[in-house]
């Protein structure tokens, strides 16, 4: 009997469940509704605020003639290059500095200073050195991702309890074996946290860099649209930029991080409160 009740929940519970599932869509619908109503009532010029339909249409157009794919690929390629370089150099450098404490102490003031400077602040100087284009954007993303990954890796390596290292050492492990089986997995959750927040900053730095420092890419697409007062393209671009960022974070980085923390995390309750 009870099993039947679970398979066929009452109408009210079912309804309640459906409402609960649909709640996240509510603000998006409210914005669309408000926007449509405002447009219908005030009739602003299309350059100021386009109707909802125009934005949908322009996304279709941009996707149809391949321009959207081209801009997206340009941006994503820069992100992959810059973030890839940032992650590799950050993890390797972070491990070296984490394992060799005098090096970490020497570098600390420089790292604090340059992480305060990271990202878009380098743009004016680097435009002169690297010119406008992919190299500039890649540098800015590398610069943003590197410091966050580096700092988190150092922290992760340093926070591995010495007791664990000594334990494995007592069992006869050499230095390399300790690094491989204790420090590497112990630091991994921090490394991944660093990568996740680094990409959050990196994606922002990329869009900002592309506004002036690139011939194509999503940032250039929206900045160029501003010159022609094409706010439909700008809004379409913002929607795409947000969707890519959320997709990257929720469906790629967050699951990886959660699994790593569950598998190797040193504090047992960390995974249940992940945001």
């Amino acid at each position: 009997m009870t099993s039947a009740a679970i398979v066929h929940p009452s109408r009210a519970a079912h309804w309640q469940h459906a409402v609960w599932r649909m709640l996240p869509a509510l603000p998006f619908l409210a914005v669309l509704l408000g926007w449509s109503l405002y447009w219908w009532a005030a009739r602003p010029s299309a350059a100021t605020l386009p109707p909802v339909g125009a934005v949908v249409q322009v996304i279709g157009e941009l996707a149809g003639d391949g321009r959207l794919a081209q801009h997206m690929l340009a941006s994503l390629w820069r992100l992959v290059l810059g973030a890839g370089l940032g992650i590799i150099t950050g993890v390797v450098g972070g491990f070296l500095a984490g394992l060799y404490r005098p090096l970490a102490e020497f570098l600390n003031p420089l790292v604090v200073f340059f992480s305060a400077l990271s990202g878009i602040i380098w743009l004016p100087l680097m435009i002169g050195w690297l010119g406008i284009g992919t190299a500039l954007a890649v540098f800015l993303i590398w610069n943003t991702v590197f410091f966050i990954v580096f700092q988190n890796t150092v922290l992760g390596v340093q926070l591995v309890p010495e007791l664990l290292e000594q334990g494995v050492s007592c069992l006869g492990a050499g230095r390399l074996e300790i690094i491989r089986s204790v420090i590497l997995p112990g630091a991994l959750p921090y490394v991944l946290t660093g990568i996740r927040s680094g990409l959050g900053f990196g994606w922002r730095a990329l869009i900002a860099a592309e506004l002036v420092g690139a011939p194509n890419g999503l940032g250039q697409m929206i900045f160029n649209a501003a010159e022609y007062h094409r706010s439909d393209i700008i809004i379409a671009g913002c929607i795409i930029i947000g969707t890519i960022a959320v997709t990257m974070d929720r469906w790629l980085l967050y699951p990886i991080e959660r699994r790593t923390v569950q598998r190797w995390g040193l504090n047992a309750d960390a995974e249940k409160e992940g945001m």
Binding site: F223, I241, G274
Partner: protein, 273 residues
Amino acid sequence: MSTAAPAQIATAGFVRAARPSPLRGLRILLPFAALVAVWWMIKIGADLSDEVLVSPPRVWAAFTNLVAHGVLAEYASTSLWMIGFSALLSMLVGVPVGFAVGVNRYAARALEAFLRFLQGVSGIAWLPLAIIWFGFTHTTTLVVVIYTLIVPIIFNTMVGVRAIPESYVLALRSMGAGRLRLVTDVYLPGALPSIVVGFRLGMGYGWRALIAAEMLVRQGGLGDLIFGARTFNQIDRIIVGMIVIGCIYIIVDRLIVQPIENMTVARWGVLRK
């Protein structure tokens, strides 16, 4: 929340327990001295022209020049006023909104995905639209920076309120506490560490958004200073501007944000461990 915590600790510097000793100042200055030496060697060794890289004394000269004419103070004060106003407004509006959303589980469920999406659309992406709406004015910059700051503050306040164990609320209620008492004794102290995390993240994003917006809006501010100097290939001015930007961020973070964070964690001690 703890997913954000390691990054927070990390940005605060990764060498724990710096011993206070007379050598400490030297230990901070030595790496910079080494860096300046390398820079100077590259400048002389590769024989770079002043349009590519200037020597350290040239930067110092530009710095004293900018200070003497009051130019630096003017640009810096514009930026500081912008970030200060934005931070204040974002806290005054963002925290109450975050609370209102956080205490109701339906509201929290409804807004979570939306706020995540807004956080994904960085403030600077709205800049082109803001330029169309408000022109090349301070309003445009403020809109972008406030947007950048307020979203993480609302989001983290909400997360902080949601993370408070319901038993605390129920316990106080069963002892007869009213709504106000619940806010002052449970919600506020419980959510405070998370609010501070959101504020630091917002400041990190917001300060960069401000510099980027100033570069494009060109109505004063340190971003305008360094981007304007680019037009005339004044590398010395660019480097002065960058150093000032870095120093201001460190000072704000170390002297204002971090002490507040330490205070809240020490006072309320909600962070587990």
